[in-house]
Amino acid sequence: MSVRYIPVQWNRNKWLYDGVLVAAVTLYIALFLYLGPALAEHSKPVDTQVWRARAFGTCAFLMLSVILAIGPLARLDSRFLPLLYNRRHFGVMTFAVASAHAMFVLDWYFAFSRTPKLEALLGSNTDFSHLVGFPFETLGIVALLAMAVMAFTSHDFWLNFLGPKLWKMLHFAVYIGYVTAVGHLTLGAWFDQGTLGLGLLLFGAAGAVALLHLLAGLKERRIAANHAMSDDDGWVPVCAPGEIPDKRGRIVVLSSEERVAVFRDGITIAAVANACAHQNGPLGEGKIVGGCITCPWHGFGYRMRDGRSPPPFTEMIPTYRLRLSDDMLYVHQTANPPGTDQEPITLEEAPA
């Protein structure tokens, strides 16, 4: 949560997350560089620089695959939510590893070129008409560019400056980046070498990413199809108060497809927008901690009655009007502007 921008926000969990990540990357690259030459055919010795390019390239592909798997995994099973917590650092590290791969490639293949290296790379093959011999490097450059856009806009400043909606749209570049990375690996290394390791990486990782996105997308569709209808005055039925577990929320999908999170804390019930002010995380899947609605993604907190983060924080979300009649809760489909104080419903006694 922001009060004043600092270069990188770290806390104990993020240090741990980043530490594990750096250790895993180092281990992968060390093992690759150590085992690679030993396991490869000796009839065709390969330069160390090429091994480095392969180690960093496959590592970046694996990392990008994991990043893309985390989102749908967390949607399908909340136990994966902690992985989502620090995904931005993961993304920046992936960009660094992919850049190292690009640098090794440029330095090796175009070391003796008379034209500048990048120009030599772009001009060395411009025949896009065949799959075999396709200039797969171009696909790699597109993937790297997509990763650069995301890494360069990963600071919280960008989220606030662009707004979560535009920021997310920009970060959809990861999809383009991944598809081009799969193409780059297929038409490049896989067509050229076709080793078992590459096959496992390509079919295993990319196949898993595609499948997970398909499953998570289908789940989202089922939720969206389940929207509640409003009456003529704009009131939408939610459920009986007792159906909302204590300190938890219930998500209602309005006919406009907006989502509202209705929370119960003991005898108090309030409704807020389901989209967190940070990255539009699903607040209704969070819980109440210390009297605040706490986002399941990165832990931003909001007071129930006015949707404001407690001081010194300044984030705000829209609130909604609630009504209780005949043991049924209704929410009004028109949102109040973010931070509007809205009297919550107070029950006579906590539901059993």
Partner: protein
């Protein structure tokens, strides 16, 4: 466009971006972003993004100065497009994997006897 022309275009783009970025971090950001107050080191971190995305920066800067953004925009996630893009990506990957499985050329310059087809060899090299 020739590779040299492409590189020059990118260089011009980034040069304009550098001017916009410098103006923004020294002057603009303090006018529109209260959280930037007394925070200076983070400005260095955002420079590459400002250079790369300068048209977007100019647009948002103007919008923030005029206070013209509708608050609803900040609280309505792009669920539909995210879903469609997810499906689109899954489909594109499936097509590429199909190409990977069926179109890989048989190696021609191997000293070992080349397998007829992919998978025809009993021994797969791991790396």
């Amino acid at each position: 466009m020739s590779p040299a022309g492409l590189i020059t275009t990118v260089e011009i783009w980034l040069a304009i971006g550098a001017v916009v970025a410098l103006l923004f971090v020294t002057f603009g950001i303090d006018r529109i972003e209260p959280n930037a107050k007394n925070g200076y080191v983070f400005r260095v971190l955002i420079l590459p993004g400002l250079c790369l995305l300068w048209p977007l920066v100019l647009w948002r800067w103007r919008l923030a100065e005029s206070g013209g953004e509708d608050w609803r925009n900040r609280h309505s996630p792009q669920r539909k497009s995210a879903g469609l893009l997810g499906f689109g990506m899954a489909a594109a990957i499936a097509v590429i994997l199909l190409i990977a499985a069926t179109q890989r050329p048989v190696p021609v310059d191997s000293t070992a006897p080349a397998p007829e087809k992919i998978g025809a060899t009993a021994e797969w090299r791991l790396i």
